[in-house]
């Protein structure tokens, strides 16, 4: 008999997959803590499998059910300590669990699948264990005895159960090991839960008084009794279980309409309730059930049932249920569902607090099946992601409307309006944050699959690997979580397969036999960092170099020049593999390239550090969400465009007075000398097929230096506005084919702006496609960059023979200003800069060195620095480069204008303390005295 209820089936699949997710983790944990068997974990697994079995049986998913049943049996043995969770046992269980999952995935055809091999394996375990403990097969009758009062209930449920449910009769012996069962936490949970249950029942009973026929309420009470029965029976509180079971029987009759909820029944129920409460209190005090007499209560219940029987309904009673429970009528589903479970439940005697409810919105307390009282689980619901997306759009729109209202309110200067607007402002912000949060998921969701993967892989490779995880709670947008799932899995596979050595090799290297794979996730600067490190062999750099040359990815000459760090990055090139033979795990050389591409697709970066013999560390940086990205807003021909910040390298402003010499043309191709290197230029208006903007001939040319695919080019735009966080929205089908746009966004004023696709721009202007060999290692000396934490972009400049560096974060702009423009005021050199006066500081003077070399072209390099909305110009001898550099440790030095010295790219470089210089130079003369207070170390 099949009950065609897609909704229910879907619900079952989702729920079961959640159950299975936790099962896997717990099984692995069981295996790892081999000495002390954690009963809680076994119980959790048992319950999960049991739920699956129960519902599968009800839905006539016979194959699924029989497999779950065998697995349950094995777990039962484990629980009763008749079987030890050895490697083999866990292995078999894991495999069976996998099969369950695959059956669930193809639920429609699951009944025709063959699972006999898994069943055989499980049966074998069972057979083995029964040889060991064939003595203890006697406790079962006593269990049945207690339930005899309403045994008919058991019999009558045969109908909805499929044939295969026959072995559910407890063939597994019940040898309660008291010490294990009365596990303190288990008991506490049981008590809390039971008191909860009793309170619920009481509330429901009261509700029933006013509405005696309500199916909903009856069902609810039934379920609660059922849970109570399950958990108390499981913990060995047979008397409590018997009472609960008997009460369940009454509810069942009430529900079926064969019994009317009248005063005698009500009195009986309340009596039952009081009795149960007393009993559970006793359990709390004595940590055991005591020898309380349950007979009066059971008798009372039987009286009620007897009255019903005498009411000439005896013949109906059995038959009515033998014919299948009414199907097709939705209201009857819960009934059928429950009754099918009675048989399965009472058989092995199982606690089942998370009874699957046929409600459409089902909670997902998969991580915490123990403490999840029904009340807690009801506080979560499943929501369609598309609904959240819509909500997000609406909120975005609300934010824009809010912004407009804020502007109006500012103009009108009406106090009431302003305070109302402020409230609106606050609420909108909170709402926005709230909606954003709903899409966030902890990274632990995808990590949870990794321990299993690592375990299986390690086994195949004959290695021993331990996995450690930190920062499981780090939250990421759902879409990102999905996007990094595969790359992450791949990296972990790689690490186990290639990274970690075999135990014997490890011992030789004085390392513990067991390798360690360490996963870490944390938020940093609006991004999420994920690190995957191991203590394995590290990369064999010499081999990588040789291979790369062999495959023609780089020339021998390049290979010899590559730094270790750059060499390590070679493994991200397509088609690269150092593996001598291809294993079935990895080594085909497609992997890392795909990983890199996938990570970059979502705006992330990947970096690899490796020390030969000590291990490898891979660091992935990804944005929190795909929907919102930081972007540079520029204007061209009066239209605004957004350029994703990921591709942005630097901004250059060329003064037209000097630009004649600086933008040069090679056969009609514009180039710009950026610190001695030729930077190809692309005019945005040309790419977009528009005429030159009006501003082009005016004072300056703005170049946005972009980096894509390891090469750089400069995009000439009319105006650079600002950086902004933008919400990326897809463009309609009509415009998708235009390669230079990645999407559109809505600006603060409600207007639409287009997002430029840097790769599209580059290929349209044939920047990238010209050179098919996109190794990217010779594009620029600094394109590939060394990084160990913390990495910063540094501006390198020189004064005389000294190399100096300052963090780019402190630099507003870099300019070339003609020396002849220098004017003097207040004994200080100044220039007119962007319609204001820019005070100049000569770095040489600050450092106490003499600037002897006059500039050759009449221009001086000036670093524009902004602090407290004041602008200063730092005159340096020459701006050398902008590099990514790591500053591990600074050698302290005496000069106050310097933070210290370090080695950047093979040169001793002094790091300039710009704030300190500004402070020393200007503090005395600045009219705004309060500035001095803000500084940390006034002189």
């Amino acid at each position: 008999m099949t009950i065609q209820d897609d909704e229910l089936q879907k619900e079952f699949v989702i729920e079961s997959l959640e159950h299975l997710a936790s099962v896997e983790t717990q099984l692995l944990e069981l295996e790892s803590d081999d000495d002390s068997i954690d009963l809680d974990k076994i119980n959790n697994v048992f319950r999960a499998i049991h739920s699956i079995k129960g519902v599968a049986g009800f839905l006539s998913l016979d194959t699924l059910e029989s497999l779950a049943h065998r697995e349950e049996e094995v777990l039962n043995r484990l629980r009763n300590r008749e079987l030890r969770p050895t490697h083999d046992v866990i292995n078999t269980l894991l495999k069976a669990t996998d099969r369950l999952r695959s059956l669930l995935d193809s639920i429609e055809s699951s009944n025709s699948e063959d699972v006999s091999d898994h069943i055989d394996a499980l049966e074998k375990l069972l057979a083995d264990s029964s040889i060991e403990t064939s003595v203890s097969d006697s406790s079962e009758p006593s269990h049945v005895e207690h339930c005899r009062a309403v045994e008919m209930e058991l019999v009558t449920t045969d109908g909805p159960m499929p044939e295969t449910s026959a072995p559910q009769e407890p063939s597994a012996p019940e040898a309660p090991s008291e010490a294990g069962r009365k596990n303190a936490t288990g008991l506490r949970d049981f008590l809390i839960e039971s008191f909860d249950h009793l309170e619920q029942i009481e509330a429901y009973l009261v509700a029933l008084e006013s509405n005696p026929g309500s199916q909903d309420v009856l069902n609810a009470i039934y379920r609660v009794f059922h849970s109570l029965k399950g958990s108390s029976d499981f913990l060995g509180f047979q008397r409590t279980a018997a009472v609960a079971h008997a009460s369940e029987g009454i509810m069942s009759e009430l529900r079926a309409g064969r019994l009317v909820y009248n005063t005698p029944v009500a009195n009986c129920m309340f009596q039952v309730l009081d009795h149960l409460r007393k009993q559970i209190s006793r359990i709390e005090q004595l940590h055991g059930e005591g020898i309380d007499d349950v007979e009066p209560v059971l008798e009372c219940i039987q009286d009620v049932l007897r009255v019903m029987d005498h009411g000439s309904r005896v013949p109906v009673k059995l038959d009515s249920k033998r014919t299948p429970a009414p199907q097709g009528i939705p209201a009857s589903l819960p009934h059928a569902l429950e009754s099918s479970k009675i048989a399965s439940d009472s058989a092995p005697g199982v606690a089942k607090p998370s009874t699957p409810k046929p409600t459409p919105a089902k909670p997902s307390p998969s991580n915490n099946p123990e403490g999840a009282a029904p009340s807690a689980s009801e506080s979560t619901i499943r929501v369609d992601v598309s609904l959240l997306d819509k909500l997000m759009t609406r909120v975005g729109e609300l934010v824009l409307a809010r912004n407009q209202i804020l502007q109006f309110a500012g103009k009108l200067a009406d106090n009431d309006l302003i305070s109302a607007t402020q409230r609106l402002n606050l609420i909108t912000t909170e709402l926005q944050e709230g909606v954003m949060k709903t899409r966030m998921q902890p990274i632990g969701n995808i990590w949870s699959k990794l321990p299993r993967l690592v375990r299986d892989l390690a086994e195949t490779c004959g290695k021993r690997v331990r996995i450690e995880m930190q920062g499981k709670d780090t939250e990421l947008d759902k879409t990102i979580i999905e996007a990094i799932k595969d790359p992450l899995t791949h990296l972990v596979r790689n690490t186990v397969d290639h990274g970690i050595e075999r135990p014997e090799v490890r011992v030789e290297c004085d390392k513990p036999e067991e390798g360690c794979l360490y996963l870490q996730a944390y938020h940093e600067g609006g991004q999420v960092n994920i690190e995957i490190s191991d203590d394995g062999a590290g990369l064999n750099l010499a081999k990588i170099r040789t291979k790369a040359v062999e495959k023609g990815l780089i020339t021998p000459d390049q290979a010899s020049k590559l730094s270790d760090h750059d060499t390590a990055q070679l493994i991200f090139l397509p088609g690269f593999s150092t593996a001598d033979k291809v294993s079935n795990v990895s080594g085909r050389g497609v992997g890392m390239d795909v990983v890199k591409t996938n990570i970059e697709k979502i705006g992330g970066t990947i970096d690899l550090q490796s020390t030969e013999g000590l291990g490898t560390s891979i660091k992935i940086k990804i944005p929190l969400t795909l929907a919102i990205i930081p972007a540079l807003i520029i204007t061209n021909n009066g239209n605004r465009f957004a350029i994703p910040q990921v591709n942005l390298s630097e901004l250059v402003r060329v003064d037209t007075t000097t630009s004649e010499t600086q933008i040069e043309w090679i056969h009609g191709t514009p180039v710009y000398r950026l610190r001695g290197q030729l930077l190809p230029l692309v005019f945005l208006h040309q790419i977009l097929g528009r005429s030159a903007g009006g501003q082009n001939v005016s004072e300056s040319v703005n170049i946005v230096v972009l980096r894509v695919d390891g090469r750089q080019f400069g995009l000439v735009v009319d105006r650079i506005n600002d950086t902004e966080e933008i919400v990326v929205k897809p463009m309609g089908k009509l415009l998708k084919h235009i390669p230079v746009f990645a999407g559109a966004t809505i600006m603060g004023d409600g207007k639409v702006a287009l997002i430029l696709d840097v790769l599209g721009l580059a290929s349209k202007s044939t920047i990238v496609s010209k050179d098919a060999n996109r190794t990217g290692y010779h594009s620029s000396a600094n394109a590939a960059n060394a990084k160990i934490t913390p990495t910063r972009q540094m501006v390198i400049c020189s004064s005389e023979d000294r190399r100096l560096a300052l963090p780019i974060s402190q630099v507003a702009r870099l300019e070339k200003i003609p020396v002849k423009e220098i004017e003097h005021t207040d004994n200080r050199e100044v220039v007119q800069y962007r319609n204001s006066i820019l005070p100049l500081i000569r770095l040489c003077e600050s450092l106490g060195i003499r600037d002897t070399t006059p500039s050759s072209d009449g221009l001086m390099d000036v670093i524009i620095y902004e602090e407290n909305s004041r602008t200063y110009g730092l005159v340096v001898h020459r701006i050398v480069d902008i590099v990514d550099a790591t500053i591990d440790e600074l050698q302290p030095c005496n000069h106050k204008a310097l933070l210290g010295s370090t080695v950047i790219h093979g040169h001793v470089t002094e790091v300039v303390n710009l704030p300190a210089i500004i402070q020393r130079e200007f503090l005395g003369i600045m009219p705004n005295a309060s500035e001095g207070e803000q500084r940390s170390c006034p002189e």
Partner: protein, 146 residues
Amino acid sequence: MNDETRLCTFFLDQQMYGIDVRSVQEVIRYQEMTEVPLAPESVVGLINLRGQIVTAIDLRKRLKLPQRGGDALPMNVVIHGEDGAISLLVDQIGDVQSILPENYESPPDTMSSSSRELIRGTYKLKDRLLLVLNTEKTTRFSDGSD
């Protein structure tokens, strides 16, 4: 076409056009648009419709009619497109007309072929002709007719 069809009508260069009222999402006043360089000529820009970005097609350009003169602002007829909403810019909006199949006639053979395939047919109303627009073809540019 069964019995009665209700058409949302609008005007382009004095001529009345109509589209099935069920495909119309809403009719809004002229909105400020962001032009899209490199787009087909008749795609005149993008509109922010309550947080949704909607592509606007100028029907005059699409049907190769003369440019809208003076400073008369067009109206937006927002329709449900294959993927998301699309706005059609029209001169003026008309009533919703109920039309009967017996008044139907296919477009005249002498019509220029490029415009002809965008027109489903003609309905003869009492005082004028109503051209029914093929919205699917109007909002598809694969043929490169632009």
